[in-house]
Structures are given as C-alpha cells and as structure tokens.
C-alpha cells in the first residue's frame, strides 16, 4: 500500500516541481476561457472535461497534497490519518505552538491566514506525505519554517501528522 502511496506522492511532487499552483490555475483558466470561445464542434470532449474536474477536485480535496490550504505544509496530512484538514486524529494532541502562512483559495479568490499545527503523541502516521513550501523560510525565521517539529513543546513531543487551520482572511 505504501508503495502505491509513494508512486502518487512522487507523481504529485513531480507535478508540483514543474508547475506552481497558480500556474496550474492560470492554465486551467486559459483552457476554460478558450473552450468558451471555441465553436461547439461535434467531437468528444469528455476526456478533457475529466482532466479539468480532476485538477479542480485535487485543489478542493483535503486528502490531496494539492488542496489549497496546504500551500506550505510539510508532513503527513491528518485528513488521511483519522483527522481532517483542521482536526487531529483521535488520541493525539494538537501542538500549542505553530507557524503561520498565507494561502490563496481559488474558490472565493481570497487569501487566508492559516496556522500549520502538528498533531502529537503518536509516531508518524506515514500516510499522504505532503511537502509544499510557498513562502516558507529557513529555520532562522522560525515563524515561517516547516522543518522543525512543532510538537517540540508538547508533553508527548512525537510527531504524528499536520493540519492547516484557517485563522482569518488576510487583509490585502
């Protein structure tokens, strides 16, 4: 099972390396705009429609690394470990300290401030590894760093998985 996960992880990483999220959206936007301008010819568009839906659903799927709220998350997605994008799995404890990022939600075109908390007290979930780094900074800027174990100050400081919790809309 893990090997299957890793194949998907590698392919999504590879995709993420080649394309930024915004470039995917821009390309998708061009495709959709272009499609509206083209005359409706009697050809089968179902494959293109399926691809567009797949891209859109990845951006909107909390179990996908491409989910918009995960723009700088690093670790295992709690939504694949018994939690959700903003809740820890049963029996784990949220980290009280965390770091803060800003992610763009394409659905409402707003930027949101999110807090990347870790869920702690059990060993690695090991499912849905995701490493994205928009505006992430090295460790000397700790409040923008996703390399450290944010369970560090928990009574049980073992790292299990990561969430992304909306704190509010980022003021322009």
């Amino acid at each position: 099972m893990r090997s299957i996960d890793r194949v998907f992880e590698q392919s999504s990483r590879s995709l993420a390396q080649r394309t930024s999220r915004r470039s995917v959206l821009a390309a998708l936007g061009r495709v959709l705009t272009g499609a509206a301008l083209l005359p409706l010819l009697p050809i089968d568009r179902s494959s293109r429609a399926a691809a567009s839906e797949a891209a859109a659903s990845a951006l909107d799927n909390p179990q996908s690394c491409e989910y918009w709220k995960y723009c700088a998350i690093d670790g295992f997605l709690c939504s694949c470990c018994g939690g959700s994008s903003h809740s820890c799995p049963p029996g784990t404890a949220p980290s009280p300290i965390t770091w803060i990022g800003t992610c763009h939600n394409p659905a409402d075109a707003r930027d949101y401030i999110v807090s990347y908390n870790d869920c702690c007290g059990k060993t690695s979930c090991g499912n849905c590894e995701c490493n994205r780094n928009e505006h992430e900074k090295p460790m000397y800027r700790l409040s923008r760093n996703n390399d450290v174990n944010w369970c560090m100050a928990n009574a049980d400081s073992n790292y299990h998985c990561s969430v992304s919790v909306i704190l509010g809309v980022a003021e322009p």
Binding site: R2, R6, Q10, R13, S14, A16, Q17, R18, S20, C71, A72, D74, I97, G121, K122, T123, S124, G126, E129, N131, R132, N133, E134, H135, E136, K137, P138, M139, Y140, R141, L142, D147, V148, N149, C151, M152, A153, D156, S157, N158, Y159
Partner: protein
C-alpha cells in the same frame, strides 16, 4: 507413492555415491564482523526514516564495494555529526519511554566508528532542536574539546558539552539565532533572522566570554540562505535560494564575508535553482562545488535536482552539467563528495536511491536502490 520410491532409489543409485564422496561443509563459528581501517570512500548515510520517525538510523556505506558495512541507531528526528578526526559519530536524539510515546529523554550518544559500538552518552535538557539533519545541529570544536548542541523550545540557545568527561557545561542563549556553526577551539556562530551571524566566544570552561553580531550578509526576505552550509578550507559556504554563494571565512575571531557570487546566469536566475535537503557538496582540495539544480519558482527550495552542476570555486566557472534523467534517476535531494584524490560523488534521490558518480568525469558508477527510507544527509570525514 511406489513410483516415487522407485525414482528415489534410482536417483540414489546414480548420485548417492557422489554425494557421500564430497567432504562435509566445515562447522561455522558465529562472530561479529570487524570494520578494518576507515576508507576515503566510506560515507555515513543519515536516514530520517520519516515514515516511522522514531527509528532513524545512520548506514555506513562503502562507495567502492557498494556494500552496507553497518548501522548506527539514531532515534527520533536526530542531529548527527562526526568528530574532527572521524573516529566518533555523535547522534543527538530523543527517545520516548514507551517507544512512540512516554517520557522524553534527549541525549547525545557516542559511537566508536571502528566498531560501531556505543561508547557513552550525555543526557541533555529536553530542549534539543528537532529539525532536519544539517552539519550544525550538533558539532565539535576544532580541537574536539567541546561539543555544541542546538536547542529550540522554540526559544533558541545551545548547550556546551564536554565530550571527554561526558558532562553538560553550560547553556548559552542566542537571542533568536539558531544552530551551532563551530570555528576554532572555542567559537560558535548562529544564523539570525536579520541576515546576521551571532558569534559567541567561550572561555576555557565552556562559558560565554564574549559575543558579537555581524553586519547582515543576506536578506531573509528577498533571497534567504539555506541553513545547510558546506565546509570549505577556511570556513563554510552558504547557498541562497536564488543561487548566490556566500563564502564565510571563520579563521579569524569574527567571521569574514567574502563578496557573494552566483551559480546562475542572469538568464537562468529565478528559473534554475538549488534545492533539496542537502543543497551542495565541496571537494576542498580541488575546489569543486557540486550543486543539484532544478527548474522551479518561489517555494521550490525543497525540490531535488534534475541535474548536478559542477563549479570551480576559484574561478566561479561552471565546469559541467550532469543531467540525471539519462540515468533514470529521480530528483536528487542530498549530495556529498569524498575528499581523496580519486573522488566520488554520492547523490541521494527522493526515492532514497543513492547514485555514485566519478567526481571528475561525472560518469555514473553505481546506483544503490533504496539505501534507507528517507536518506537526506551524508557525512564523511
């Protein structure tokens, strides 16, 4: 059944005398393998074991025979380094009393590299920086008199240890600056958010004697440096996200920052970038710098290289580009080079395959499949 018995009897008539004539195998004695003298092409591969992170380990690998020679246990999210003479591996790690949970013990463990046996430990306050492996999570002073360990709680400080007496000597606050960059017998520098470097000088007992803050040498907003510095002849060099090389001379009481230079042309800048977990390696004698490079934009600084670029440290000339796709290698996220006269480059991919190249020609010599689970860092003397 009768047919099978007949067949067996017939086989025995033909073959049994021959089997009986062969001498029996000698008896065996269970022993423990000895390593023998260290070789220039040995490398310590730090496997974070991220998918079951309490079980990190260091594999000792021979870049000539392509064999694993042994293993050092490394606990949870460890920092790992070698003593200056290469005789000892130190692992700063955390253990939980009940395996994945329970009371936390932070500890530095010492391993004799000639036997791979534990020789001692120093228990730390529960403050050890839990982060990716770099040369600066824990590090010896140049004379091996002190051992320094980075702390983050998230307040930042470092511990000063006595590796001979196996004691903690002091904890020194670093005012938000992080990691332990050792220089000389008694100096520790740390990287600061302001782009400066804090340097603390210790007295003979390991306590703070003085401190100084440098002028900024990089801009953390526009072009931050990776914290994974690379040892040079007189200090360390730090690459930036956009490919600037900041060479820092640590031979004087305070660090001296040379004029930065770029590994990318103006046309390549922002499009080709260094990245990964260990972003460069340097052959100090030859002055050759090896950097995994990828095409990418902002946020791609953890992406592995699709090519390895080779530079002359003195002339800044790019000597070669080694495309990795020709070898069907995944992106390279960690790199190291042996320091001998016939050097080899070790390159770990996202899949934890380790490729071995001739460091002078770029010729691929070997791919070791799955050397560890998430191998992100190499150490060699």
């Amino acid at each position: 059944m009768r047919t099978e018995l007949l067949s067996a009897a017939l086989l025995c008539l033909l073959g049994c005398p021959l089997v009986r004539a062969a001498p029996p195998l000698p008896t065996e004695h269970l022993t423990v393998e000895k390593l023998g003298p260290a070789k220039a092409h040995w490398v310590y591969v730090v496997d974070e074991a991220f998918f079951n992170e309490t079980d990190a380990r260091v594999d000792l690998f021979d870049g000539d025979s392509y064999r694993r020679l042994g293993q050092i246990d490394a606990g949870f999210n460890p920092g790992v380094n070698l003593s200056p003479d290469g005789s000892t591996t130190v692992v700063a790690t955390t253990y939980f009393a009940r395996g994945g949970h329970g009371a936390r013990t932070d500890v530095v463990e010492f391993t004799d590299n000639s036997t791979l046996s534990l020789t001692g430990e120093i228990v730390l306050p529960p403050k050890r920086a839990n982060t990716l492996p770099t040369y600066f999570n824990l590090a010896y002073s140049a004379d091996s008199h002190f051992l320094y360990v980075a702390y983050v709680t998230p307040a930042s400080s470092f511990g000063v240890l006595d590796p001979a007496k196996k004691t903690v000597l002091d904890e020194i606050d670093t005012a938000g600056c992080v990691l332990v960059i050792p220089s000389g017998p008694n100096r520790v520098s740390s990287l600061c958010e302001s782009g400066r470097m804090l340097t603390v000088t210790l007295d003979a007992d390991g306590h703070e004697a003085s401190r100084a803050l440098s002028e900024p040498f990089f801009d953390a907003d526009t072009d931050p440096v990776f914290v994974q510095g690379v040892a040079s002849k007189d200090g360390y060099l730090f690459l930036s996200f956009l490919g600037q090389v900041h060479e820092v001379d640590f031979s004087a009481p305070q660090p001296v920052f040379r004029a930065p230079w770029s590994i990318v042309t103006s046309a390549e800048k922002g499009h080709w970038r260094p990245g990964g977990q260990t972003v460069a390696a340097l052959h100090r004698g030859l002055g050759r710098l090896y950097v995994p490079m990828h095409r990418g934009g902002e946020g791609s600084h953890k992406s592995g290289g699709t090519e390895i670029w080779v530079f002359d440290l003195k002339t800044h000339e790019r000597l070669a580009r080694w495309p990795l796709s020709a070898h069907k290698l995944a992106a390279v996220i960690a790199i190291q080079v042996s320091q001998d006269d016939a050097p080899i480059v070790f390159a770990a991919t996202e899949k934890s395959d380790v490729a071995v190249f001739d460091a002078l020609t770029g010729q691929l010599k070997h791919i070791e499949k799955q050397l560890g689970q998430t191998s992100w860092f190499f150490l060699n003397p």
